[in-house]
Symmetry: D3
Subunit: 239 residues, 6 copies
């Protein structure tokens, strides 16, 4: 299986870490390729950023499909341009939000999302509402740290742990979703730390959830419905 | 009051008609200016189109704000890039969907939307869900006609009337929303035709609703909340 | 445009202030007339009060329509007898709740209502539920002050500000709705005060929202649907 | 137990039949008294009617409480002035809607309401929404017959049976609620007729449900919460 | 009327107290019989317990119906095997949850449930969701005491009172439901204690609610719909 | 990975086909073992059947966990005893419903379930409601065929195809879920047949979805939350 990962930002500094994370969860026989954008923003933390990265994301997804990819992961928790990409190609495409949330729903009645900055909260709440699953969300919390400052893993884990404990104690979260695909390599240790403090509370890595959702779709022989995602009508387009 | 209208497509063929429609509903003392996009698509009928028109829409809204506009109407029923634009400027910005739906909610318990093509249905259903108002929607129907073929007003009215009658009889619609800002100049005559056939059923023109929402916000001294629409964090952006 | 305002209480002590507030938001060319009730209560703060003021409200709305009004504002946040009035006349009629809430929905994902007394909370929560928009309401708070003691504007602003800050900080409100049409002349200064303390958070004056909703309906040529508000069947009525 | 029944219309022509229906379901040891209104309408089929009957209903409920009634039934499916009455007295008060709907929820996952005229549909849909139980309602259907023409029992049963069959076959109703307290003495025979045609489908008589709800509250020693129904503040009232 | 009560645990130590509680609320002319299980668990505090008691519950309900009972109360708040029992018999069958919740909905807009242990919370939240009434629930709280330690009535009342005060003050509960049928004989004194501390807040005893719901169904001549609860198809069963 | 499959019926006639279906979707390196029940029913088509199979299901899941299984699939669409089993073991456990529905949500905005008999509809509607995902379900349809008569694959496909076409045309289904784990080996051909007739509409095999969900949980290192599924308190149990 050929999995294509579009890291939807300019600059390739995340590519290595994303590759490792994807590799860690992909099936042994899967090939993984990681590309980033030529045009866009350094990170995605607002609706404005989502608008700016959109056109190049769909270009990269189309290219991946044309080049024989079996499935594409748009590595951002906001699922930017995923709907558009699904209209264009006939292979599975997911972002970070939908698979992570569905995975969380499979293991807990209520879950919290812990994300980066207040500026992405509207995005997350609207995605939840548009999927009709808001009743399952205990809370959405932020560590108040920009994507570009997530690299310090110890600091990241510390901040996440603090919000996760609060989500459990104050918001009655039963599971936790990492609300940014840049929160790499921390899910398992956070899950272990929380388990040490009391009950087992699953922590969902959106990259892991996305890769396993793509492999599941490919192995089940399914992909997005063409009645939800219709092909775009033909017309003049000049971008 | 200076109202700026962004017709979010390439080509200025709609500008004249949109200007007339806006003019017909804007306050006498309001100035109206209409611009279209440099880069984008000839019409917006898919999530793909929405992605492609996004970057130039935010540019045009920013320009309008910089040039002293008091409010901006992004003349498309899908509210493309409206959230992003609101993050960037401190003047009221609306698309066609939100004001039309809120106007309909003010006059009827249930309403139907009649739009162009099946390819926009997912967009409309998700917008409704993300605004939490799906329980008020009786149905969304299509006349199966592309935006670029709406110019024949007699044919347009005929198709709309047929779907509107069906929405009333089969879906129990109490009001009707024109689901495309390209359906210009037909709301009042359709409303009259339906009234002749039975009860008074309001027909909402999204352009009218948008202009009156903008004027209302300006006159009330309000605009979008900065707690829903936070300013985008500063970072490298290359588009 | 002739706007008729029914201040639905006995005693004309509010009429002057209501006139000023309406005048401040009505279009320059609109005429405004204000009447109050002959039979009813001194203020409306319970379902009991709503029942008592109902019959004279519908009489006053009918009279306004007969006398050539273009639209009627029933100046109370509980929308008392508004549904009944709409059954009777063919001109736009609104109370304070519906237009304020729809205006708030147009500028923020979540909003709080700050009202007078605990005795009106059930009314407000049921109105929200009956309109299907409860998911958009962050909280309903009270300043614990009867309508007849709202006249001290400084004290009023102080109490409102305190609850509004709490709504923002504790309930995550993104916008605020004044939950009583007797809270006159304070929306703009409260909005300014809140903006000084942090982000811009719109404050909705229900009188302003109502007047602009009425003018919008008149200018759009729409009014309440006769499929939601059917004419009452003819029969013996003795009141 | 003393049960007071307020038939909330002018004219006493219903009193006898209502007394019989109440008597048929009330406990053997219960005393039943039936009163009607001095001021109001001949029947209740619109929000306008509800407004007109409101003041005298609260007067009659207050009088019943003062005279030692243990519980009061306001015999109308629209629950007119019930909330107001609950604010005023400390004995159980119900209308026809709430008890019937709760009884139906106890025996079926989905139910339909069959009522008199289209002019009461908005009332019923809003009551359902305001109680948060719309998801349990399969449909609301009308027999298109005014309250004052329900006396012909054979015709009434015929019309009801036709709509009930349609509710079962087309709307997947699992139970049926008679949507008018004037549909007296027909529930059991309709239930038997439907059972003969297929599965057992319960038919709820709102009068029966109301009386049994009142007796249950009295025997359980509960009544309406004073945190939902607060006492009205003291003030000038002139009606 | 013959009321059969199935105390769905092994051991008859609860039978006496349950008999007294049922007797206290049943109509004078009703006969009451109480049986317990031969196979099952000592108490029901988990989904596991519910699975283990299920088969003998349906046996006991079938036996009661065969022996001429008019209605059956399965005396557990989790409604264990109630749906299955309804499929099998043509007499009213209720558990503790559904009737208590419907009774609470009839007297308050929002209510809290106070139950025994955290291990039953998922059961209660899912029952609420499956009945579509979650919007009416203010909170579900626990006294953290196993069923088998509820016998000390003074301690029980003290713990319940503490959680009920918190439900009112912190969760805005308007009514309270005892979330275990083993909380016997305390509802009225708790209700009195709360009333002494402020407003009247009804406290629902699930046993009382169940018995009154059964008597109401019998007296109304209704029972569960056979369109919700179909008879099980015939087949090999070996248990 | 060791996958244990509990076919929760008496008689081993399904074991072979279930093994094949599981094998077809399990990862190459996974071991698969299939067991059936000693005590229970020949098929599961009612709440009554679910009650009867419950105790032996939990025994079999416990045994599998004790014997070193990494994950357990309870091969029935009603998820019988799955919640109880999750309380008892610390390895992933799923039935057929939850994984299939979550898989469908990942590929389509609306989906229909096509199942065996009307007697399972209540079960399915309540599961949907209890998971909070009813808004995504277009319809639940039946082929009116008992589980034990599904063996004729040609007839099965014909009946399924007919209902699936109806679900698409009449209920606006965008994806389809096979509503019985006994509908083996038909998903792919039905999906192909539907695609030939128009748009690509994914068809979800619940066995495939379950196996891929289990493998995903194991590979992600997650399992059910112990805050949703608490361990059952220790006590006397005699079954």
């Amino acid at each position: 299986m050929r999995l294509s990962v579009v890291v939807p930002v300019i600059g390739d500094q995340f590519n290595g870490h994303v590759y490792e994370e994807v590799r860690a969860y992909a099936g042994r026989e899967s090939e993984v390729e990681v590309v980033n954008l030529d045009h866009g923003t350094a990170s995605i933390e607002s609706a404005y950023d989502e608008v700016l990265v959109g056109p190049d994301i769909v270009r990269k997804v189309e290219a991946a499909a044309r080049d024989g990819a079996d499935a594409v992961f748009v590595a951002c928790f906001g699922d930017p341009a995923v709907n558009a990409a699904r209209e264009l190609v006939d292979i599975p495409v997911v972002g970070g939000f939908e698979p992570a949330v569905l995975a969380a729903m499979g293991v807990a009645d209520r879950f919290s999302i812990v994300t980066v900055l207040p500026s992405v909260l509207t995005m997350i709440h609207r995605l939840s509402a548009s999927l009709g699953i808001s009743s399952r969300i205990a809370s959405v919390r932020v560590i108040d740290t920009p994507v570009l400052e997530l690299a310090d893993r110890a600091a990241l884990e510390q901040k996440l742990l603090m919000e996760m404990r609060a989500a459990i104690a104050q918001d009655d979260a039963h599971a936790l979703v990492l609300g940014c695909t840049g929160m790499l390599g921390v899910a398992r240790s956070l899950q272990a730390a929380l388990a040490d403090e009391g009950s087992f509370v699953p922590v969902i890595d959106p990259t892991a959830a996305a890769i396993l959702a793509l492999e599941a779709q490919v192995r089940m022989g399914i992909r997005h419905s063409r009645r939800t995602y219709l092909p775009p009508p033909v017309k003049a387009r000049n971008v």
